[in-house]
């Protein structure tokens, strides 16, 4: 019990620090937020224009609107930027003082993650509510059970993206271009995680291939869950996929962390 209390105290302090730090950079955060919603907004605009003549593979205009609004929210809740941080930490020696602390550096990253997302996701939610008042296309039918399941899927997706980003960022122990790997990953995930279009609109072979990888579980699955597009067996398969890939990436992170630290020479003062 006292261990739990200790963790609560640590996270309390980390969260307070992260929250205050974000407060100082409110304007910056709004800019990151704007940048994050531009891509889905443009994708929605293009699909909206394409669907002018009627539904595309079963997706009518309103379905696209709901899909991309859900995507904006889920993407904001699951986004991870740790590989960029780790790259700087390792290259410039900022990792050193973090290693000396009696707390794994990942906890600081997790706390920042929570503070940032609580702030930005609530902004998106607020805008969504206001838009929904005027625009029925983006209204979601109420469903407590589905929303609860979505919350779990979003949490798993956020953890998955966190470990992918952290494990990839740790490549900075070996190479100076760790962020390039992340850029390549982002390029592939544009298609395979559903950022550009619902997976059903991709060529069937591509969509099938995506199903064997971790990409759909980062975004498309929680988004489809929120809009009510997955049911039954697909629902179970989605959660199994999330858990399995999360396990794989946690192992990848552990390997990169223990081997990388042995290799780390610590630069900087």
């Amino acid at each position: 019990m006292s261990r739990l209390a200790g963790w609560l105290r640590r996270y309390g302090a980390l969260l307070r620090a992260a929250w205050l730090q974000d407060l100082q950079y409110r304007a910056s955060i709004v800019l990151w937020l704007l940048w994050g919603v531009t891509e889905p907004a443009i994708a929605l605009g293009i699909w909206w224009a394409i669907a002018a003549g009627g539904p595309v593979e079963g997706y009518a205009r309103a379905d696209f609107a709901r899909y991309f609004f859900a995507l904006m929210l889920v993407n904001q809740l699951t986004i991870a930027w740790d590989s960029w941080y780790l790259d700087t930490w390792i290259r410039e020696g900022e990792l050193n003082f973090r290693l000396v602390r009696p707390l794994h550096p990942a906890h600081e990253a997790v706390a920042e993650n929570i503070a940032y997302k609580a702030r930005t996701a609530s902004m998106i939610l607020l805008v969504w509510l206001v838009v929904a008042l005027a625009w029925p296309a983006v209204r979601l039918p109420f469903g407590a059970g589905r929303w609860a399941l979505t919350a779990v899927a979003v949490l798993l997706a956020a953890a998955l993206r966190f470990f992918i980003s952290f494990a990839t960022g740790l490549h900075a122990f070996w190479t100076t271009r760790a962020t390039a790997i992340m850029e390549l990953h982002a390029g592939i995930s544009l298609f395979l995680s559903g950022r550009l279009a619902p997976l059903a609109l991709l060529p069937p072979a591509v969509a099938r291939t995506a199903g064997f990888l971790w990409f759909p579980y980062m975004l498309a699955f929680p988004v489809d869950l929120l809009t009510g597009a997955v049911h039954g067996a697909a629902l179970l398969q989605g959660f199994v996929g999330q858990v399995v890939w999360l396990g794989v990436w946690i192992v990848a992170y552990r390997l990169a962390w223990t081997r990388g630290l042995r290799k780390y020479g610590a630069v900087g003062g």
Binding site: L31, T38, G45, G187
Partner: protein, 260 residues
């Protein structure tokens, strides 16, 4: 801004960059990845339609080529130059610029070149050329001249946009990532103006008319626009440039210096 000063800065800059040839390969690979991603994106859209805002596939590819060319200019000149302004306003590093006996706006804007990114210009023009070949279009001399003028006008307008956005730093000091705002806005230039519906059209076509910067040069190449439109584009660019001078002077009055 004396050209002699600029030439000296750039000569040093190029000499320095030539030491890092691996950056050339990295930049080239990055651009190729971007082009492949953009073409695949279009392929996904065109699986379900034959036209985007009344443009067919290869016409939009011409536009992507223009977009990539502009990106090259942005990454090679604007981001390493004026893109650093927000950080310098915050840190007070701008003091050092203002103390120099040169035009501050010119110095801040053009002091540094990321020369390898000029490969984007070459690859962008190549892509546009290939798309024209697929369209079986050979632009006339007048159309090519109109394209060159419209592209130059687009560069000026994009520059004006950078100055306008970065000047915000003089009012809101703690926004180091102001360049992200440009990236968000510039995304709107990836598709022809006619492709945007409703609210997006208002934002990218009228409010921040960034979509025109690619649509007009691409239209000049594909023959969608009368060549004379390029003259209007040039006039708009002239006005935009004059406005940036005005804005720069107004903004600079707010700068109090921050370094110790």
């Amino acid at each position: 801004m004396k050209l002699r000063v600029l030439a000296a800065l750039w000569r040093l800059n190029v000499a320095e960059e030539l030491q890092y040839r691996a950056n050339f390969v990295a930049s080239l690979l990055g651009t190729l990845l971007w082009i492949v991603t953009a073409l695949l994106t279009l392929a996904v859209f065109f699986r379900h339609t034959t036209r985007l805002g009344d443009w067919d596939y290869w016409e939009v590819v011409v536009l992507l080529g223009v977009f990539n060319t502009l990106t090259g200019v942005i990454e090679a000149v604007l981001r390493p130059g004026i893109g650093r302004l927000a950080g310098e306003v915050k840190s007070g590093g701008l003091d050092l610029v203002l103390a120099k006996p040169v035009d501050a706006q010119g110095f801040v804007s053009f002091r540094r070149l990321d020369v390898w990114r000029f490969t984007d210009v070459v690859l962008g023009l190549t892509l546009a050329g290939y798309a024209l070949y697929r369209l079986r279009r050979v632009p006339s001399i007048v159309q090519l001249a109109a394209f060159a003028l419209a592209l130059a006008a687009a560069v000026v307008v994009v520059y004006a946009l950078w100055v306008a956005l970065m000047s915000l730093a003089f009012w809101f000091v703690s926004v180091e990532n102001l360049s992200v705002l440009f990236d968000a806005v510039y995304e709107g230039a990836r598709y022809p103006v006619s492709a945007y519906p409703g609210a997006l059209r208002f934002v990218f076509v009228y409010l921040i008319p960034v979509a025109w910067t690619t649509t007009i040069p691409a239209s000049a190449l594909t023959g969608r626009l009368e060549p004379a439109v390029a003259l209007i584009a040039a006039a708009v660019a002239g006005v935009a440039f004059a406005l940036t001078r005005l804005l720069w002077r107004t903004a600079l009055k707010r700068y109090g210096g921050a370094s110790g």
